[in-house]
């Protein structure tokens, strides 16, 4: 029996998501179905045999990589499967965290749809049509970011507008790129194409000055949803961007482009870091920290000739875990605090020490504290950046301190007593089901920090899909 791989990783999650809409009010069933689908597909992607043949008892399923659709193809190459496994695992993890009443019921089916659309984006041929799938994923994400019960935030409109503006630019760049390969590097057309393409990516990734929606949406939306989207979208877009470097020599060999990427990366890190430091709203602080993380990815991209793509890919899973812990802790804390501002969480650690520690450790892990997951990758990255350009390296280092300082400020407020006249005893008020997932992820972050090349190193196999970048 012959099947195609896009049926598994694009069509199936869509069908499951559509079916899930039928029992939206059955929370547990929804979580189970979404988690099984997402983790199942993630596991299948990582264990999929190279000969694309699955044997289940007497039945032999032979898979083909492509699915023809309206004269074009969606191709899920074997080489891209580690990345697909990663995005489905992220969706699975977040679906486990979706039982909280503050997360809308439609989050689960929509998260599956978004993952399926982003998978299709990674595989569509011609690859520039990916922009349309990403746009579809953006449109699908609006109802979960801005639930019916809440007033429409201007940040959501800005998010929708800026993401939609990226679509024409990427498609136009795709058309311009067709003739550029044969032109000399100093041709004005090469510069025009690079500018159009760069603008498209800047809009997608929320790069300065198109970043304003990130903290606005972060402040207004449910933290878990925002963090989930800020994990999935930039990750997929950055991986998609490798296609351009892989296919177009003029981009791969342009030293100026790497300088621009490095400068923009350092600006994002310093901008995001410094703004994080001064935030009072914990959700808004996440928005700025996410911008700084995009900056780190850009810094990794600026080191593409020195193997920066490997660092960029290795940062994805540790960032995803850190973000998950951050989102999980915020979602739980939101239940116990009046609001997610620093003044509202004063003394919270005395009643909820495990949740508070989870939040602090998540931020420290993202910031790159030694023995936590991001440290080995970030230290290598910063060293390499400083080796190439000292100014950019120093700026990135200073920017990264912003999240550290914010975390210290938050920790000081979490542990100080709310009312100075009344003595508050320390107690563990969290329920077991609340802190067990937290402890597991913290343990995982420590293991990853100590042995960075163990669990998630396979994601770097994604690079085999980009033959020129290995």
């Amino acid at each position: 029996m012959s099947l195609s791989m896009p049926l598994l990783w694009v069509v199936l999650p869509f069908v499951v998501a559509a079916a899930s809409f039928a029992f939206l009010n059955k929370r547990i069933l929804g979580i189970v179905i979404t988690a099984i689908t997402a983790f199942g597909l993630s596991l299948l992607a990582i264990l999929f045999p190279e000969d694309l043949t699955l044997s289940i008892g007497p039945v032999q399923l032979v898979f083909t990589e492509s699915l023809a659709i309206l004269g074009r193809q969606i191709t899920i190459a074997y080489e891209i499967l580690p990345f697909i496994s990663f995005i489905f695992a992220v969706t699975g993890l977040w679906s486990l965290n979706s039982g909280t009443p503050s997360i809308p019921e439609i989050f689960r089916p929509i998260s599956l749809m978004i993952t399926a659309l982003l998978t299709a984006a990674m595989g569509v041929e011609p690859f520039l049509y990916a922009a349309l799938f990403i746009q579809a994923a953006v449109l699908v994400s609006v109802p979960i970011l801005s639930p019916v019960t809440k007033k429409t935030n201007p940040g959501i409109l800005r998010y929708l507008t800026l993401q939609t503006l990226a679509l024409p630019l990427i498609l136009l760049a795709g058309w311009l790129l067709t003739g550029v390969e044969t032109l000399p590097p100093d041709s004005p057309k090469v510069a025009q194409t690079t500018i159009v393409l760069g603008l498209g990516f800047a809009l997608w990734l929320g790069i300065f000055p198109f970043h304003t929606w990130v903290p606005m949406v972060g402040e207004d939306s449910q933290p878990a949803i925002m963090i989930y989207l800020m994990t999935l979208f930039p990750t997929t877009i950055l991986t998609f961007s490798l296609n351009f470097f892989d296919r177009y020599t003029f981009l791969r060999t342009s030293e100026n482009l790497y300088i621009i990427l490095g400068t923009m990366g350092a600006l994002m890190v310093i901008f995001g870091g410094v703004w994080t430091m001064f935030q009072d709203n914990l959700k808004r602080a996440f928005g700025f920290a996410a911008l700084a993380e995009t900056g780190f990815s850009l810094l990794a991209l600026s080191l593409l000739p020195q193997g920066g793509a490997r660092w960029m890919l290795m940062l994805f899973p540790v960032r995803a875990l850190g973000f998950w812990l951050w989102g999980y802790a915020l979602t739980q804390i939101e239940k116990y605090a009046d609001s997610l501002t620093i003044s509202s969480v004063i003394g919270l650690a005395r009643r909820y020490p495990l949740l508070s520690s989870g939040l602090i450790l998540a931020q420290l892990s993202i910031a790159g504290l030694p023995i936590l997951a991001a440290f080995p990758i970030k230290i290598n990255l910063l060293t390499a950046v400083a080796g190439t350009n000292q100014t950019i390296g120093t700026l990135a280092f200073i920017g990264n301190l912003g999240l550290f300082l914010f975390t210290l400020r938050l920790a000081a407020n979490l542990v100080s007593p709310k009312n100075k006249d009344v003595s508050h005893r320390w107690s563990i008020s969290e329920k077991r089901f609340e802190y067990i997932p937290l402890l597991i992820v913290i343990l995982l972050l420590v293991i990853l920090g100590l042995f960075p090349h163990t669990i998630f190193a396979k994601i770097t196999d994604t690079l085999t899909a980009f033959t020129q970048l290995q």
Partner: protein
């Protein structure tokens, strides 16, 4: 330049100005529907009629979805605002028209030599006016109308560059998706307003 394409271009300029100046949903949705018809006329210069008609049908479907939702949510509401704001938007619209007339010949010559000037001008006019609208309003339904107009303008130009069934299909999905998001926003804002009215009556 045929009479049809000139007429289509003039219609695009008028409808884009109307969308920019007025805030009444009835006027705006009508203008958007006419704008899609004009855009269709420009697309027929690059594509066969059978394929170009997809654009106008999709556009009208999107417009109908928004108009019917507005009709349900604000059946009696009419937008009132000072003449000065309308005048200011009119002036900014004129500025956009001038800029587009100035830049489109060189843009067509350098970037899109294979496309007629009228197509480039028509597409840029829709894009330019939509961008101006996006910068001057934070109303959800106006944002969606502007995004639909912007996508329409891009599609007019892109039709001259590439012809792909999959791309057309995906753009249909994006346009209808945008319209559905618009419907979602309008329902939200309408329900909120109704809720506030009920709460005030109860008080």
């Amino acid at each position: 330049m045929s009479i049809l394409s000139t007429l289509a271009f003039v219609l695009i300029v008028i409808t884009a100005m109307v969308i920019l100046i007025f805030r009444d949903w009835r006027i705006n949705t009508l203008a958007l529907a006419v704008q899609y018809l004009a855009a269709f006329a420009l697309v027929t210069l690059s594509w066969p009629l059978g394929m170009a008609v997809v654009k106008v049908i999709t556009g009208w479907m999107a417009t109908a979805a928004i108009a019917l939702t507005c009709l349900r949510q604000y059946p009696t509401e009419t937008a009132t605002e000072p003449n000065a704001s309308m005048f200011f938007r009119g002036l900014s619209g004129l500025l956009v028209i001038m800029v587009i007339f100035v830049i489109s010949p060189s843009l067509q010559e350098n970037l899109f030599p294979s496309i007629d000037l009228v197509i480039v001008q028509g597409g840029l006019m829709m894009i330019g006016m939509a961008l101006m609208q996006l910068g001057s309003s934070a109303e959800p339904y106006l944002t969606i109308i502007s995004l639909l107009s912007l996508m329409g303008g891009f599609e007019v130009i892109h039709a001259g560059l590439e012809r792909s069934t999959l791309l057309t299909g995906l753009l249909v999905i994006v346009n209808l998706g945008l319209a559905l998001v618009g419907v979602f926003f309008i329902i939200k804002s309408g329900d909120k307003e109704k809720q506030t009215l009920i709460e005030e009556e109860v008080k």
